[in-house]
């Protein structure tokens, strides 16, 4: 399967607090990421604004309920609704998380980590193929922040991502903040993670903030991006070249202008480090 998605530039998560300002002021944002479940409703205001903003901006879809790693059957009802939304807004791509959210028909509404095993990789890859066949396109899988890891894991998280994405021929959404959070929580080298994922599959980068509790970090996505995460982003761009990048703020949402300014940091870093990337690759 091939993918023709191009570099979209620098984007933000679409948030209800910003609807009016986006339509009235057309801010300096290249694209928006719509949270799929927010728009998987029968009608009303969310879809009204989604349609109008989509008319002015490219969009991608980002979900939390695919539960790609679950041992419960793939939820075809959910896939049907997801496809309907995709038919409506024609996103550049669709993403969800490399995790599971529940079994036996229950939903824990959390992005629960996978064991990094051959069995789990094979299982996820088979399900990704089902999803991609149904949707008629490759999907992006995002690495989650995690707080626990399994005794049964036989490989690193990035080796697991490599196995899953190669077997499924899917793409990747690299959340650089989540890499930082997980590296802190599990004491691994965050740069090794970035260096270890298959670079040709990375289509999108998330940047976000978190809450450091001293012994561990909780991924809250409710704060500005911190310097170590910016450093990791720079490292990622030096490896990957230009990747569609966005700031993901889920809580304590500030004014749109604040996020646009933060996004400009990403633009500047990317401009600097894609220059390095281009020079290195031209040599």
């Amino acid at each position: 399967m091939t993918d023709n998605a191009s570099f979209l530039g620098f984007g933000l998560g679409l948030r209800t607090e910003h609807y009016h300002e986006i339509l009235e002021n057309k801010p300096k944002v290249d694209w928006f990421e719509a949270l799929s479940e927010n728009y998987m409703v029968p009608g009303g205001k969310p879809l009204y604004f989604l349609d109008r903003i989509r008319a002015d901006y490219p969009m991608v879809m980002h979900g939390v309920s695919l539960s790609i790693g679950s041992t419960a059957p793939v939820n075809l009802d959910y896939l049907k609704e997801l496809k309907q939304l995709a038919d409506r807004i024609q996103p550049a791509w669709i993403s969800d998380h490399l995790c599971w959210t529940g079994i036996h028909g229950q939903n824990m509404h959390d992005l629960l980590p996978m064991p990094y095993t051959e069995e789990a990789a094979k299982h996820v890859a088979e399900r990704v193929k089902i999803v991609q066949d149904y949707l008629g396109r490759q999907i992006l899988l995002e690495n989650v922040s995690s707080y626990a890891s399994y005794v049964d894991s036989t490989m690193t998280e990035w080796e697991f991502i490599q196995q899953v994405s190669d077997a499924a021929d899917c793409l990747l959404l690299l959340d650089v903040n989540n890499i930082y959070v997980s590296s802190f929580n599990h004491q691994f080298d965050a740069k090794a993670f970035i260096d270890g994922v298959p670079k040709q599959r990375v289509r999108q980068i998330h940047l976000a903030g978190h809450h450091n509790h001293g012994d561990y970090i909780i991924d809250t996505h409710d704060a500005p991006v911190i310097d170590p995460v910016w450093d990791l982003y720079a490292h990622a761009i030096q490896r990957f070249g230009a990747v569609s990048t966005m700031i993901e703020r889920d809580d304590d949402i500030p004014a749109l202008g604040v996020l646009v300014e933060e996004l400009d940091i990403a633009r500047q870093l990317a401009a600097k480090h894609t220059q390095d990337f281009s020079q290195r690759n031209a040599a």
Binding site: P42, G44, K45, S65, S70, D77, L112, P115, Y147, Y216
Partner: protein
């Protein structure tokens, strides 16, 4: 090595079990990596806590009034109890919480205001994202020859709901929403409340018995002529005029999605 399914069963059982909390003796520690920095107990505890906090936050969204009415401490307890009684089976959190009114009837049977407020708030949420329809206007009706009006039946917007409540739950909700002090609970208010969507916002108003009855009959598919006949039984000769006035009001407030002849 455990199978993936076993690990997931173990993890989910732990998350859903309220009695376990974070107790290292209750946990089978040989499936999660333990360490001296944080420890398996605390690591799993993060997920255990997050599961509950996320659901409480999700319930506070449609039930903001209920949360203000009960106060955060009691709402927190109610939400946890609801989660235990009705674990989520929904991919989308939007739909979680539909049974809150039923649940409150069992756990707070004397707090009728709370139960009715939950019913009201869920109806408001349903109106907010009900399917989109084009609406019929007064102008559209005016283009139909009056001789045909008797046979007309009406299709109402999907977000429209009629509630018969016995308490002052709705005025209480409004006061709390406006950050004003609500009145004392009144269990004898007995009003009909109409909830619908207009200009993309959920709206509500009380109806007198006459309009509530007429609207329910219209929703059931009675023709305009039949509605007038029914209304005649209560109001006499003014029935047709009154029915037309009600109908005009419904059209002006975007309640009607279609007219069938």
């Amino acid at each position: 090595m455990r199978q993936l399914a076993q690990l997931q069963q173990h993890f989910q059982r732990y998350l859903m079990d309220d009695s376990q909390a974070v107790d290292s003796h209750a946990l089978d520690n040989n499936w999660i990596v333990d360490d001296t920095k944080v420890g398996a107990t605390k690591r799993l505890g993060i997920y255990h806590n997050a599961y509950r906090m996320r659901i409480i936050e999700a319930l506070a969204s449609p039930y903001g009034g209920l949360k203000k009415l009960l106060g955060p401490v009691q709402f927190h307890a109610i939400a946890l109890g609801y989660l235990n009684r009705y674990p989520s089976t929904y991919p989308n959190l939007r739909w979680y919480g539909s049974k809150m009114a039923d649940y409150l009837q069992t756990v707070l049977p004397h707090n009728l205001v709370a139960t009715e407020m939950a019913t009201f708030e869920w109806a408001i949420a349903a109106a907010f994202d009900a399917p989109d329809v084009t609406v019929v206007t007064l102008q559209d009706l005016a283009e139909i020859p009056p001789a045909q009006w008797g046979e007309l039946t009406f299709v109402f917007q999907p977000g429209l709901q009629l509630l018969a409540l016995q308490t002052n739950a709705v005025p209480t909700w409004k006061a709390l929403n406006d950050d004003e002090a609500p009145s004392q609970p009144d269990h004898q208010q007995h009003l009909h409340w109409l909830i619908w969507r207009q200009q993309m916002d959920a709206n509500f108003r009380s109806l007198d018995n006459t309009e509530a009855t007429l609207l329910a009959q219209a929703c059931d598919g009675l023709s305009f002529g039949a509605l007038c006949e029914k209304l005649f039984e209560t109001v006499g000769e003014d029935a047709t005029l009154q029915a037309a006035q009600y109908l005009a009001g419904w059209l002006e407030t975007e309640m009607i999605a279609d007219i069938h002849r």
